[in-house]
Symmetry: D2
Subunit: 347 residues, 4 copies
């Protein structure tokens, strides 16, 4: 079966999902739908089938010299599944429309768990999404937490996790609007919502997160204190991450000393849009003291949920029987790595 | 006795110390010494006695239309104590010169504990500095840690502290040089040095810090997870801070929602240079869960060590017999507060 | 006569105007009115008479532990003049209320010239405002343009001016909202509106401006190419500025090499909030080639219109007969200078 | 002839030139040489032949697990031409080494015109570089100026140009070092050096530039006032740019309203590293008033000189007889455009 995939909402996540779908051997991109009529759509109108999400936007698109192929409903009619990457307050309202069209749905982390009854991170709970009508790929922050803490949880090492998440303030494309300047903005409540959000997938985790926005536009930076179940060696802790999927090591000793260093590396690796789908953990910052571990990693918020979304499509449509099979295809087509270059010299 | 005080190094800290000395009833500012010859000195040459730290700088000052009153040695000869606020790699080298001049010395946190054999935070260890030849006022980050964790320690509540310190990248006056842009820079080791530094004053503290630079120029932002000695109520935790000196509460509910909000408040309060000498703890972010507490505060790195430096002068010269007496004078002359305005409405 | 002054809108400009009114020998601050109930008002509630601009805000203030003295109407009833420093889309709507109260009005540059029929920069047209019912102090950018180009115009040297204005993106107090990050945002039209705005005061000026927002929060930076009426010496051009009021020279050769250097100088000079009321022209960047001059200056947008507003009060109420008399009082009470320090060494 | 090309200095420009050489049908990349041993080299060590620029770096590379193919001299021995993209103070010192190796040389804009006796922008003076031993591709700013002003010059419309150049402060990869924060930094002299630099290629241009650094990391933003030789229509001015090579139009009306919008567009177009080789002129900001024109454009400093460097290789080695032929190959292989998307709606 070649899954027919629609993407509704061509923004930061939607455009990356669309490109990723194009790379999958078992998927076909039927079209993207949006309400925008400016450069964001014009830039791709010659290579992607564009649909109008609303009637008004169809009119506006034609006025802007764009020729939409049809309405969102027409797009849905020819699709098996829709990826809803519309803004936070729009998505849930689309659910009835999707149900009427008889398509399965993948929502994103802006939606609440209760909308779908299921939240998704491939390596953690692919199996429970198999054949479901819909799921929700959790947010960038939560995805990274589930990957990393899940790895420690799997290794039996994790008793408790306390994290500080310094989020990027806004995405580059909209950084002329609504950014923050020369300041930091703490979240107005502690704990922040990412802890409970991760528990929708790993309910047994004992974790608390404190979050704040930093004055930069790309990638989140997480800092963790982990209470281990027992005193462990540094190598045990490092190994727990080494064997986990979609986590890659970076090293201060390789000159990767700041968020911008990693971003330039992604550009140098020739990645589309400079994307990084892996959680980049600073291996040489991993510190173990008795039964505690400390670590720092970087989350490329614009792209990290893209492989999860691809896997979610496979799970809902039963395109692959298990996480391992699906993730292998996704990781191979995108070029996901465990090490960003061969000549890394582990400490 | 009116202590005759010299300030060597008229930079971010030096200029604030000089202004604070001018406000003290038991101190006289004999002069400031520096090597700079530009606006930094010109701006104050008509109101402060300026000395040249080196022979070369004396010549350069005269060439720049400045008329230094004399050399650093001449300044020291007429002083009882010198506050060394020169840059990190300069200060320790001045020690012999100070000894020859027979003056007592207060160094700053850029110097190592071993240079002086004593590190200082007024509320923690004023007594042990009484009459000493010299001490070291610890850095802005460490001062804030000793104030806050010391408060919990005093209350018997603190078992263990794990902190993430997001530091400002550079000071405003030099932010056209050596800043960071649109990134974060984690410290290259975990734990960062602030933990051991705080232990030079509170050796019993069990604390680990992780540090990084954020892309802003004013104030550090600390995030803490505290393991308490027992389950405690939120009110107990809040009270531990409420009774501690040089800690002031701010509140999200008052609209103080970001680092820049507090900075504007300081300007509105008419403070010199917009300085904040207190650690500003977000009261409504203090969260207690069982035997853990979580909190966030803001440290105005340019000014927080100024009151400590004034108290250190008193301790070394025995101008005041105990911390309480000295701090009362300092706090009153500077205008240090526990609440920044009367109409605060505690939660 | 002691003018009874009300300030409606206690924001960036309003709070500075209120403080400046307090310094004037011929004015009394009757109160400030606002709708805010947070730290912005709480910080000054113990030192300024606070009124509620609306009925809703009166209720909200009381709920927030603030005790407003009364309504805006009550404030106006006891005042001779009101300074409207409310936000752009609010101010014009207040006009009827002010008229009913029988008070004179000074609006700010966010309002259109047509609202008042008169725009004001003290040194340019004080006389024409004498006794009027109302006027509009033009914006920070326009005020600086009228001061500088007016100086050249007065000297008979100016034929044509072409300027590029790089504006700060947002003010520090609100830089956690609506800022821009790591980008520049050109104004969507050329010419920008500042040229015509300056012509409301100096109608004969031949000027065109291009504007953009830069990724910084404090002070605008203007770059000008001036076509002179004839070939002139550099000294003639410099002198035209030297004799003009409210323009001060700064110099790269004094180490004042960037916007942040000047800002730190203002803090070092002990100015309230670090304000700079003067246009700071880089003297050593003034370049003359034949019949063209090039120059760069810095405009402290938060404060530059404060002295103009004070003078506008005097003009409307005929407190001073001419610009010279009014400006002398204003400049003396605020501490406005032509040189920021004595030891400047002109090139 | 397939030109054998060496790249010495694998930094911002070097890595882009190397990738561009790989795309040329008439060139072969023999290798890249550098002294770095960190991620910058490790990231490409498996796909590019790496050489060590110095003996020390050869040792260091081996210690870092990199296996350099040989020395710079060995690389040069097998090459026809070297592109020197080493840092500013290193490049000129390499000249003798290149001469000894008998290779031709392309320097970059950090070097002075006098080093090579020839400066290069393809569309302006390709012919004069034919067969020369060496040339210098001018800097990013100067390249953009020559393209744009050259276009007006060719059209006979340009009498005089006065420009304000707001430069990015530092490149993203090194933005954790040496950046500027929340400020602007004017160049310490007017005129800035870009005017005379452009005159090394277009000696007849009457232009003056004023430059400053802005607080952003990507792309320069130029603002121009052009004195035309006569009153002209807006269409004539627009047409002069429309027919010129390597200038592309962007439009506010397409939502491209800030520097970051264009950068995101480049990412969406799938360009390597998000590069933009064209000067992006805001078409709908082009304004003509009588005999004056005003315009604004954006210069992607990391990439704009890459096509010029490729053309310079062809000129020195006589791979193509004229600019038109060479530029056609370069533009086609890189994907240089006049419009970034088809559905542009000209005003």
């Amino acid at each position: 079966m070649i899954a027919r995939v629609a993407v509704n909402g061509y923004g930061v996540i939607g455009k990356r999902v669309a490109d990723a779908v194009l790379l999958q051997p078992d998927m076909e991109l039927m079209g993207i739908a949006d309400v925008a009529t400016d450069w964001r759509i014009k830039a791709v109108a010659d290579r992607l089938p564009v649909y109008a999400s609303t009637e008004e936007s169809a009119t506006a698109m034609r006025a802007a010299n764009l020729q939409p192929r049809g309405s969102l409903d027409e797009l849905l009619a020819g699709s098996d599944i829709v990826i809803d990457t519309t803004p936070k307050h729009v998505a849930a309202g689309n659910l009835e429309r999707y149900r009427s069209a008889g398509v399965k749905v993948v929502f994103q982390g802006g939606e609440s768990h209760s909308t779908t009854g299921h939240s998704f991170v491939a390596q953690a709970n692919y199996a429970s999404a198999l054949g479901r009508e819909m799921t929700r790929v959790v947010s960038c922050n939560t995805t990274s937490i589930v990957r990393v803490l899940g790895a420690f949880d799997d290794s039996g090492l994790l008793a408790r996790a306390r994290g500080v998440l310094i989020r990027r303030a806004t995405d580059p494309w909209e950084s002329h609007l609504g950014g923050i300047m020369n300041t930091m903005v703490p979240e107005p409540t502690i704990p922040s919502h990412q802890g409970p959000d991760a528990q929708t997938i790993l309910p047994g985790l004992d974790l608390v997160t404190i979050a704040a926005k930093g004055a930069h536009t790309q990638t989140h930076n997480h800092f963790w204190t982990l209470q281990l179940t027992r005193a462990a060696s540094r190598e045990e802790v490092v190994d727990a991450l080494r064997v986990a999927p979609r986590i890659a090591f970076i090293r201060m000793s390789d000159g990767l000393v700041a968020l911008n260093s990693t971003l330039e590396l992604m550009r140098d690796l020739g990645r589309p849009r400079g994307d990084m789908w892996e959680v980049a953990v600073w291996e040489d910052l991993i510190t173990v003291q008795g039964d505690e571990a400390f670590l720092t990693y970087q989350v490329y918020n614009e792209a990290i949920v893209v492989p999860e979304t691809i896997d979610a499509i496979r799970a809902l449509l039963r395109l692959a029987p298990d996480a391992h099979t699906s993730m292998a295809i996704t990781d191979s087509t995108l070029g996901i790595r465990k090490e960003f270059f061969a000549s890394n010299s582990p400490l």
